[in-house]
Structures are given as C-alpha cells and as structure tokens.
C-alpha cells in the first residue's frame, strides 16, 4: 500500500516536471508552428545554470530567481538569431536547424562545464524526509519540486486566462492565423512565447538538478518524453500537455515497479494506444 502511495507521489512529481518542459514545447508548436528539437537543450541549460548559480548563491531557489530571467533572455536571443528564420519554412528545415542547434549547444556545454557529472545540493532546510509509515519515508525536496511546478503551472493559467498576452496566446492556440488577423505584431508575441518556453524548460531542469545529477545530454530523455506528451495531449494544447504529463508520469512510475525491464515501453505503448483511438491527441484540434 505504501509502495503504491510512493509510486503515485513519484509519478505525479515526475509528471509535473515533464509538464513544465512539455507545455513550453506545445506552445511553441501551436503558436509559432515550429518543431523545436533543441527544447531538451534548454532543460540542460537550466540544470547547468542551477549548478553554477547554486555554487555562488548557495541556494537552489536563489539560483532559480536569477536563472529563469537569464534563460528567458537566452531564449529571446536564440529566437532572434535562428528560430525566426524558420516561420515560413517547411517541417524538414525546422527539424534540421533545431537539430544543428543541439550539436552546437552540446559542444558549448562541454566547453563551458566539461563532461563530468556534478551534483547540486538540496537546500539544508528541505533536506529531510516525511515519515509515511514505520518503514517508508518520502524526501521533502521532492514534495517541494511538485509544489514549485504547481506554482508555475498556476502562474501559467493566470497569464493565459487573465492577461492581454494570454489572450493572444489563446487566440493562437485555437487558430494560428487568428493572431495575424487580430492585428497583433506577431514578432513580439512569437519571441515572448519562445522565450517563455525556454524558461519553463530551464526551470524544470534547474529544480530537478538536486534530484538527479547534472550531466551532458541530460535534456534529451526529457525532449523525447515531452514529444510523447505532446502527441498524447494534442499539439498546441496546454491542457492536453498537463493531463498527458501526469498520465506519462504515473505510467512510468508504475511501469518501473511492475514491469521493470519494460518501463519505457509502457510509455510508448500508451502513446500508440492514444494514436489509434484519436490520431490528433486527446485534446488536439479536430
């Protein structure tokens, strides 16, 4: 029973983390019409920013406070340098350019931070465990990660539902052409959405850094799992990304316990099942 409870907690915590990465990806798909393979690199960027900034500030949350704006600025720069040239080009060229960016980012990471894995300390005030029963306990930091993700998710809901920029995002979410019809200067909206997507991925990478060690290529599994989430949830749908992430998080957590060798296959089988039932994803546009 405790085991199941722990797996539910693990699954939800992992799912919420994926949601941060996947929601950025799905917004960039839905509004910019771009398939961004380098999204995993931004998760990696977040993890390494956490490493460096925590070593200066001594606290992961202070690191996040500085790191997220940095990631936002970096995202805006990448959009201006590369991504904006892709809006009128076909999928194939988008795939190529963003794949080339991965090669570049991986090498830059190696030049700046080297190839050894590092660990990021859990802040001392969260370095404890909650006793679930006589034998099982759950680390407080993981609960804090879940809480942080929920906080960011609520911030997203607020921005999307109640602000002017959110209104534009909603217009773009349901119909990409709509943004232009509304007379919005799409250049700034696109730059904002891309940079926001980068920040979300970086935030996920940073907050997760104390749980897993920080190593080269840390973002790639997240990229692929985010793709699975976007396929399940439907391209462009933040709501779909949310439920897809939790579904995948739980499937992964329980797969690891009940089918240890085939845990990752469970996740892909789930995706195949969704595609057969509803090829546009659960919350996709018709």
């Amino acid at each position: 029973m405790e085991l199941i409870l722990i797996q539910i907690l693990n699954g939800l915590q992992y799912g919420l983390l994926i949601f941060l990465a996947a929601s950025g990806l799905t917004l960039v798909f839905g509004i910019l019409g771009i398939i961004n393979l380098s999204h995993g690199s931004f998760y990696m960027l977040g993890a390494y920013l956490a490493l460096t900034l925590t070593s200066y500030t001594g606290d992961i949350f202070l690191a996040l406070l500085i790191g997220i704006p940095l990631a936002f600025a970096f995202g805006a720069l990448v959009e201006w340098l590369f991504i904006r040239h892709l809006y009128d080009r076909d999928h194939l060229q988008q795939v190529l350019l963003t794949f080339a960016l991965i090669l570049i980012f991986n090498d830059l990471q190696r030049i700046i931070w080297g190839t050894y894995p590092h660990s990021v300390p859990v802040p001392s005030y969260l370095d404890a465990s909650v006793q679930l029963s006589d034998v099982l306990s759950y680390p407080v930091y993981r609960l804090a990660v879940a809480g942080f993700c929920i906080f960011l998710a609520l911030c997203m809901v607020y921005i999307i539902q109640y602000t002017r920029i959110g209104q534009m995002i909603r217009a773009g979410e349901s119909n990409r052409e709509m943004v232009e019809v509304l007379g919005i200067d799409s250049r700034w909206l696109f730059r904002f959405v891309f940079a926001a997507g980068v920040s979300l991925a970086a935030a996920a990478g940073a907050i997760a850094a104390p749980i897993e060690s920080v190593y080269p290529g840390i973002g790639e599994p997240i990229l692929i799992i985010s793709f699975v989430v976007v396929v399940i949830g439907g391209i462009g749908s933040v709501k779909g990304a949310f439920f897809g992430s939790l579904l995948i998080g739980l499937a992964d957590a329980f797969g690891k316990v009940f089918l240890p060798e085939f845990a990752s296959v469970v996740v892909y089988a789930l995706m195949a099942a969704v595609l057969i039932v509803s090829p546009g994803g659960l919350f996709g546009r018709a």
């Binding site: 060229q93 080339a100 396929v231 595609l275 057969i276």
Partner: protein, 598 residues
C-alpha cells in the same frame, strides 16, 4: 515526377564510382574502412529519401531499422562458425521490415509534426528495449566474433573478413539499392508515392488507399535501412543500443537534405560530403584547434547550408528549375465534340434523408434526391446553402450524421473517400486540386492508374499502353494535348481546371461531381467546358455545383435548389425558373434579371 538523372549527374556518379573502385588500390586500411562506412551510411540515407523525399513522410526514427538490421546479424551469428551472408543480410531486412510494418501501421495514421514525433518516439522505444532488457548483452552490447561469409551450396564465395572484398560488396549493394529505388520511384507504385507527397487528398479522391501506399513505402525504406544496419554490424563486429540513437536519425535527415530531397542521387552525395566534412573537422592537422570542437563547427556549417541552399547539392547539379513559359501561350484547339465511342452508362445516385450537422449547425438537412444516369444535374443555392457539404457527403469526404446514400442501388453510406472513388465516383474541387509538380500528362496517367489501384504495381509495362491512351484521350477532349509535357504548376488557372476534368475522365469515373468547374474562366473557355460537359453526359452522370447561372441553366437537365441545407425544389430548368418559391427564396434576391435574360 522524378526523371532519370541528367547526363551531368550520371557523369558525377560515374566518376565517384570509379574513385570508389580505386580506394582499396591506393588507400590504406583507414581509408578503406572509412569509405566502407560512408557507403553503408549512403545506403541508409538513400532508403530514408524514399520516405522523406519521395513519399513526403519526414521520419525521425529511421535509426530503429538500422539498429534492428545490425542486431539481426548478432541473432543469426554463432561463436563457432561464420554465418552465411545470404541468410544474414535478408534476415536483417526482414526483421527491420517487420518492425517497420508494426511501427508504420500506427505512425502512418498521423501527419506532419505528429509523424515526426511519433517515429522518433518509436525509435527511442527500440533503444530502451535493447538498453533496459538483457537481449544481446543489454546496455553493454554484444560482440559478433566471426564475420559472415557469402557461401552457396557449401562453397565459400566471398569471405567478408577480407576488408577489400567487403568494401566491393558494399559498393555493389549501394549501386544496386540506388537502381532499385530509382526504378521503384519511376514505377506506377512510385508515381503514387510522389503524388501522395504533393497532394494526398487528390490521390485519395481518385481512389487510391493512401494509407496502404504510405505503409508500403515505410516498410520498403525500413527493410533497406535494415540492410545498411547488417552491413554496419559486419564491419564493427559489435552491436550496442547506441545504434538506435536518435542522433543517427537526425544526421541521416541532414544528409538527405544536404544532398537534395527526393532526388535519390542527392542523398548519396550528401552522405559523402557530410562525412568528409566531419572527418576533416575532426582532424587536428587540417583544422587545428577547431578539431576539439568539431561538432560545434559542424552545427554552424549545417545551419548555413540549410538557410543558404535549401535544395542541397542536387540543386546545383540540376540547375534552375525550368522557368515558367511566357504568358502568351498559343491558342488551344477546341475540344472535340465527336467522341469515337460511348462506353457504358453513368451511375445513379440516390440519397434518403441525408443530414450533416457541424455542432449545432445543420449544414445539410434531410435531403432526399434521386439523380438519374446520363444527365447533367445542377445544384444551386445561395452561399452557405450546403452545396459543398452535400457533395462532400456524396463523395465520402465527410460522414453523414444520418441518412443513406446509394450508388447504383448499393449503399455507400460511411465508406471512406477512396472506396467511394473506386466505385466510379470522381470529383473536382472548388480550389483546383491537381498535382502541381507533375506534368499535365503525368497527372492524367496517375488518374488512369486509379482504374487498377493495386498497391504493389512495380511493372511499368502492364496497362501502360491502355493508360497512355486514356490520358491522351482525356487531354484531347479538354483541349490540353499541346500542353501534355508542361508542368501543371505552369498552366493558366483555366487550364488547371480543365486538367482536373481531364483527370476525372482518365480515371474512368462514371459519376462526376464538379464543384464550380467554370470558376475564373473566360467566356471562350466556359463555352468549351460546358460543351464538354454536355458531351460527357452521353455516358456519364454529371453533378455540377456552379455560380454561373447562365451556364448552369443552359447545360443542366435537372436543377436542385438548396436553401439553408434543405431541398427547396428539384426539377427541369424550366420548372425551376417558374417556381415561385425559388424565385422568392433565391433568385429574387440575387439574380432575377439573369434568369429572365436567359
């Protein structure tokens, strides 16, 4: 459509082949091994071009088949004696082909972004499968200690342990795969694949089951990808989950695009140049300190190539695409009204209580119609009356919410579009729907091919004469014979609309549904097309949606008036003209003078 390579391309390929043959003569061990790898990768990349460039399916999971091919060699090898390449190589193709069938069956349901992500995810699933389980050594990989031999009836013909022998075998296989894929692409089967890349909807409306074609293409590409995988495992004598790494798939796509998408020879050149550039960037004696950061440099070069030369190396070799012809085209012959033979009769179509709702909006509301064969039936009504929805229902492009549709008495309600088309129903669209990068004749040939749309027709000869004749006849009938070898994208708007009618004629459809065929035509063209429609009605049933009231009243035998989704009136043009309800609801508002004038 893909043509045979131009002489310049053939010369380049021949020079490369000669250079390749000489590598083992002049090069050392390293050069031979490197070139063998490049050749094997070229086979892999070539197979990917069948998907990306020919069929238009951007697969990001091709490494799955490469990896499975490689593992197949491990599965058939033993530690005691060499395996037979004549078994091992087909085994790699089979294993990869079956996996492609399973993965493709799901992936091909999706399009665009989804297809890219889904194929990537499935390749990653194969990676996890071999990484997490202990099949073939799990994450550590496994060695193949003895290289295969080519032996027949107990005699060893080729020992692949010999580096040079293996090199020449790989080179021969590359040439063979190129020739096979080129022939496949130019066969009737390949014609459909190329049609799907440019206009899948049209192919489906002609009666091709595009799902099956795309899946076949996926399986063939997967099998050849598997062949590359077996060869790769043969050089290294080692298999590991890294073979499935998605970076392999990404690099293969790079090579396809760098070389030239959809040209088949381009990807070979792309693989060669990419590999050589990578090799140079990695070598410190050539590039100095850059060698330490070669992947950064490669990434920058690739971005420059993608943004600067989107058509790749093939783009330079093939030169500029043929320029559009001058605006002043010679006058076209008037369509022949005398048809040599009238074959068969048109089809009868009936609907019973047909309705279609979009959410709360009922676009077609309880329409019961009976349209007799060998007549021109006009459907008119104001904008938003449900005309296009009605013909989408008839042709199977949309599913009815309720009611039935019968074609010659057979219930066709709910059949998919391609199945309806195979029963002899052809349609044209409000927005011209042809295959723009094909010539006028090729458009008609693919339509004629729809009469026998078996998914696996590789033979060029079978039916070829028949199809040529049907295409020529249709082009002649619409007056486009002089334009037979013009790219459809270079035709004028009116000519494109006529080409669409010619395609329907060539396809052998007996019930033609035409959505505003006269839209955008001048008076002379309108006269020619209406004459053609009258002529066609001798052995076809024609359903016509049209806004040109003069034309439709002149050409139609019966008229059906739709208003707000409901059937308002049905009868001969004279009856409709006199019908007071029609006058009030429709004509009175829009064009009484037009009607009176006619």
């Amino acid at each position: 459509m893909l043509n045979r390579p131009r002489p310049l391309v053939l010369v380049v390929l021949a020079l490369l082949l000669v250079a390749g043959l000489l590598v083992p003569v002049f090069g050392g061990t390293y050069a031979v091994k490197l070139t063998t790898r490049i050749i094997i990768f070229a086979i892999f990349v070539l197979s990917l071009d069948l998907l990306i460039g020919i069929t238009g399916l951007v697969s990001f999971g091709h490494a799955a088949f490469f990896g499975l091919g490689a593992y197949a060699l491990y599965f058939v090898s033993s530690d005691a004696e060499p395996s037979n390449a004549l078994i091992a190589f087909p085994a790699g193709m089979l294993l990869a082909g079956f996996a492609a069938l399973a993965i493709g069956a799901v992936s091909v349901l999706t399009r665009g972004f989804y297809f890219i992500m889904v194929t990537l995810a499935f390749a990653q699933m194969m990676f996890s499968l071999f990484f997490d389980t202990d099949i073939a050594g799990g994450s550590d990989g496994a060695y193949i200690y003895i290289k295969p031999v080519v032996s027949l009836a107990g005699f060893t013909l080729l020992d692949l342990e010999d580096r040079n022998v293996f090199f020449y075998l790989c080179l021969a296989l590359l040439v063979a795969v190129y020739v096979v894929l080129l022939a496949l692409t130019r066969s009737p089967f390949g014609r459909v694949l190329q049609g799907i890349r440019w206009n899948e909807g049209r192919l489906s409306a002609l009666g091709f089951n595009t799902y099956v074609y795309k899946l076949m293409s996926f399986v063939i590409a997967g099998a050849f990808g598997g062949l590359a995988g077996v060869l790769y495992a043969t050089i290294d004598g080692f298999v590991a989950p890294e073979l499935f790494n998605w970076h392999q798939s990404g690099i293969a796509i790079m090579m396809v695009v760098l070389g030239g998408v959809g040209t088949l020879f381009g990807p070979i050149l792309g693989t060669l140049s990419f590999s050589l550039v990578e090799e140079i960037l990695k070598t410190e004696s050539y590039v100095g300190p850059i060698a330490a950061n070669w992947s950064l440099a490669l990434g920058v070069l690739l971005i420059a190539a993608v943004l600067g030369a989107p058509r790749g190396i093939a783009g330079w070799l093939e030169g500029k695409r043929a320029a559009a012809p001058a605006e002043t085209a010679p006058p076209l012959p008037v369509a022949r009204r005398t048809r040599e033979r009238h074959t068969g009769t048109g089809k009868t179509i009936e609907t019973e209580g047909l309705s279609r709702a979009f959410g709360g909006l009922i676009a077609v509301d309880d329409v019961t119609l009976q349209l007799a064969p060998n007549k021109v039936h006009g459907i008119i009504g104001p904008n938003g009356a449900g005309k296009t929805t009605l013909i989408n229902l008839l042709s199977g492009a949309l599913r009815a919410t309720s009611g039935t549709i019968k074609l010659d008495g057979d219930d066709i309600t709910g059949l998919p579009q391609h199945a309806v088309a195979r029963r002899g129903l052809g349609r044209s669209y409000q927005r011209t729907n042809i295959i723009l990068p094909f010539t006028t004749r090729e458009n008609c040939l693919i339509a004629a091919q729809a009469r026998h749309p078996e998914a696996l027709r590789f033979s060029t000869r079978r039916y070829a004469k028949e199809e040529e004749a049907q295409a020529a006849y249709a082009l002649d009938a619409v007056g486009l014979s002089a334009r037979a070898d013009t790219m459809a994208s270079h035709l004028s708007h009116g000519e494109q609309r006529q080409l669409e009618i010619a395609m329907l004629m060539a396809s052998g459809a007996k019930l033609l549904i035409l959505d505003e065929p006269l839209g955008g035509m001048g008076p002379e063209e309108t006269g020619r097309v209406t004459a053609l429609l009258r002529d066609l009605s001798a052995d076809h049933t024609v359903i016509l949606v049209e806004h040109d009231m003069d034309a439709i009243f002149a050409v139609a035998d019966t008229l059906t008036v739709l208003v707000e989704g409901r059937l308002l009136a049905h009868g001969s043009p004279q009856d409709i003209r006199r019908d007071p309800a029609v006058r009030q609801a429709y004509l009175g508002r829009f064009g009484e003078s037009e009607v009176v004038a006619s």
